[in-house]
């Protein structure tokens, strides 16, 4: 790399570092909701990507509505859109649990089939409502462009925004799951449902709210994703592989595992991609994952549970 000046190389390393962190925050945000549903409840939710798409479409709708009715508010609507995405996806998750999932808790493989079916139904609904074409909300101006600490370093603002959002959501999930009574109830229920019921925890209510929370976070991820890419009916199925990869690699039930796993995968991918081509970087990352999972089938961090 002798042809480049020291200053150039420093800038590139700074930006490359941020590219890795940016990918990390995207992966983590996508995986958090699934980590709760899969990790805590043992439900294999194949429709998780569609809940993300639902959040993205909610953001799109709000963008269109704001533009036609309150054009002055274009600068702020995105915050409302994130909250709305959480509640829309969460509410739909709540209903899904009531109608579909609660009948299948003792049959985890059947949840896979049922939610796969659900994901197809949701995709077709998106197609019927929004059309087959990809859509993209109009983003507020402050989300565009980049921050330049020096002349040659460009840090994309949408990347920083997703990073900030991921940090807030992660801290929120941590407080909720590990520092609140409700979180204690969730963990107790998943570890020993019968005993939890016996000591007075409303386990059905806990299940329903946990599932809704996981879906709501997926909705937030979807809203954040609109700053990076567009949304189509099948966008969800593009995300789901990466999402499961992060959760499985991290060790399903551990929040810390999910974070560590997203970080490892993102950095490996981003660094490899700088030196070899994009497709090969993905191949090597996946190969490394397979090898590590062969040695540690439970993932990087697994919680010891009496079975």
């Amino acid at each position: 790399m002798g042809e480049y000046s020291i200053q150039e190389l420093t800038s590139i390393f700074a930006m490359q570092g941020f590219a890795g962190i940016s990918l990390f925050s995207v992966l983590l945000l996508m995986a958090l909701g699934l980590a709760i549903i899969f990790g805590q409840m043992g439900v294999i939710n194949m429709a998780h990507g569609e809940f993300m798409a639902m959040g993205a479409y909610t953001t799109y709708l709000l963008s269109v509505m704001t533009q036609s009715y309150f054009p002055d508010l274009m600068g702020y609507y995105f915050f409302i859109a994130i909250i709305a995405s959480f509640f829309v996806a969460g509410l739909f998750g709540y209903l899904t649990e009531f109608v579909l999932i609660r009948h299948l808790y003792k049959r985890p493989l059947d949840t896979l089939l049922a939610t796969w079916g659900l994901s197809l139904i949701m995709q077709q609904s998106f197609r019927s409502i929004f059309g087959a074409r990809e859509v993209s909300p109009t983003l507020p101006d402050w989300l565009m462009g980049s921050w330049m600490p020096t002349d040659s370093i460009f840090i994309p603002i949408n990347g920083m925004f997703v990073l900030g959002l991921t940090t807030i959501v992660t801290i929120g999930v941590f407080l909720l799951m590990y520092r609140s009574t409700w979180g204690l109830n969730v963990r107790a229920t998943t570890q020993n449902r019968v005993m939890s019921g016996a000591v007075g925890i409303n386990t059905k209510q806990v299940d329903r709210l946990t599932f809704a929370l996981g879906c709501g976070i997926a909705g937030v991820a979807g809203a954040a994703f609109t700053t990076i890419a567009s949304t189509g009916p099948t966008s969800g199925s593009l995300y789901i592989v990466d999402t499961f990869m992060v959760v499985v690699f991290g060790g399903a039930a551990s929040l810390f595992g999910t974070i560590a796993s997203a970080f490892t995968i993102a950095q490996a991918q981003s660094i490899l991609e700088f030196f070899i081509s994009g497709s090969m970087a993905k191949v090597f990352t996946l190969l490394a994952l397979v090898i590590i999972l062969m040695m540690r089938p439970e993932g990087l961090f697994s919680i010891k549970v009496r079975k």
């Binding site: 590219a19 087959a132 074409r133 099948t234 993905k282």
Partner: protein, 416 residues
């Protein structure tokens, strides 16, 4: 009017009828009665005295539905217009639509269904090279006729396919020549999605850059389909400082690619970018503000300023709404039914062999194409102009360059 009564009627009043036609009392250009079914259809196609059946085969579901929607809308518009102007050989066209579902084996299966069960006279359809390659053996075995609308990598010519989009050399060579001359470009960075079309296109581009233009390829990169993270690639591009980024990223990835380029400060005032794969359809998702000042090389843009196109755009919007946009492939799909009509009328028959023979004679031409004048080459591809469009903020392009009619050359020597 039933078949027999018309025959009887004609038998008795044939002379009078001919006289009426001659006198211009009957104004339609062709009447079915002038072309008895037994003569225009010797191979058992679904042709009656009043109708002829054709197939439309695109993905209505699955990942490709996003792209193929516009194509099938344009084919339906063309068929509707042909029907309103009197049909083909006096027969109204009936459409049988099938869904390829973005799944290549399904394309083959539906092709067989259309050709064997429905006996359609022609099929308008397919989009990806993979779907065409899957359907091709069926069309060759059953001797069907496919009008294929997408710009593609070339290296193919089949008796049973008419290619209405550009093949690789028509699009790529003219684009690279323009950018080398106009922007004095010497170094190129090639980036594409990872499948056959971008890889073949980039191979042709690299050969042309190195052997003909005397330039240098400073980087070549492929990202998995649907990938949305371009940070590392953008940093690599920043290090290499190419004169031109030459891109063939497809589908939803495009949105991420251009949004991230913009956010990383790689905008058109500092960087020339020429893409093979952005049409008005993609711009809807990408957003004009992320593309402003970048270039696409295509044969058609919605903003083309000519009477044919004004009429086409107005008719398309009337049928599909004011918000609809028309991209390169949509226009190429629109040409399919019209080219078929021209060939059938010249052949005086719906039989595939006769229609193909006429098509291969090299004198099927359309003055009415929205892209301007086009002509069918004996090698089953179209002579067409190549244009460079510069994108504006409103999602439309300004045409900044237009080539002469370029001869199609699906098997370019020295480029493979």
């Amino acid at each position: 009017m039933s078949y027999f009564s018309r025959r009887k009627f004609l038998g008795k009043t044939g002379a009078l009828f001919s006289a009426m036609v001659a006198a211009g009392l009957i104004t339609s250009s062709a009447m079915a009665a002038d072309y008895p079914t037994a003569e225009v259809n010797t191979t058992g196609l679904a042709v009656t005295d009043d109708t002829v059946k054709v197939g439309i085969l695109h993905s209505l579901t699955g990942t490709m539905a996003i792209s193929e929607t516009g194509a099938q809308e344009a084919e339906k518009l063309a068929i509707k217009q042909i029907n309103e102007s009197g049909g083909i050989l006096g027969r109204q066209i009936e459409i049988i639509q099938e869904d390829g579902a973005s799944d290549w084996p399904t394309f083959a299966e539906k092709s067989r269904k259309l050709l064997v069960n429905d006996d359609v006279a022609a099929v308008f359809g397919c989009w990806t090279s993979a779907s065409r390659k899957a359907a091709l053996p069926v069309f060759e075995k059953e001797n069907g006729l496919l009008y294929y609308p997408t710009f593609y990598e070339g290296l193919e010519q089949s008796k049973n396919v008419i290619y209405t989009g550009q093949e690789a050399t028509q699009q790529i060579l003219a684009g690279l020549d323009w950018v080398a001359e106009e922007k004095d470009a010497k170094t190129f960075y090639l980036i594409g999605s990872d499948y056959i079309w971008p890889r073949t296109s980039m191979k042709i581009a690299r050969t042309h850059i190195e052997k003909v233009l005397g330039g240098k390829v400073v980087g070549e990169e492929y990202k998995p389909l649907g990938d949305t993270q371009f940070g590392s690639v953008i940093n690599k591009i920043r290090l290499k400082k190419p004169d031109v980024i030459f891109a063939a990223v497809v589908g939803g990835s495009n949105v991420a690619w251009f949004k991230q380029l913009n956010a990383a400060g790689i905008t058109s005032d500092k960087q020339t970018l020429l893409t093979l794969s952005v049409t008005e359809d993609e711009v809807l998702g990408i957003g004009g503000e992320n593309l402003e000042g970048f270039y696409s090389v295509m044969k058609y843009f919605q903003s083309l300023d000519n009477p044919n196109n004004a009429e086409f755009v107005a008719a398309f919007k009337e049928m599909h709404g004011d918000d609809s946009v028309i991209g390169d492939v949509t226009q190429a799909a629109y040409l399919g039914p019209w080219l078929w009509k021209a060939a059938v009328e010249k052949a005086g028959s719906f039989d595939v062999d006769k229609v193909v023979a006429v098509s291969e004679a090299g004198d099927i031409e359309l003055d009415t194409a929205p892209e301007g004048y086009v002509k069918l080459h004996p090698n089953h591809h179209l002579w067409s102009k190549t244009r460079i469009g510069k994108w504006n903020k409103d999602g439309q392009a300004t045409v900044v360059y237009e080539s002469d009619l370029i001869e199609p050359n699906p098997f370019p020597e020295g480029y493979q």
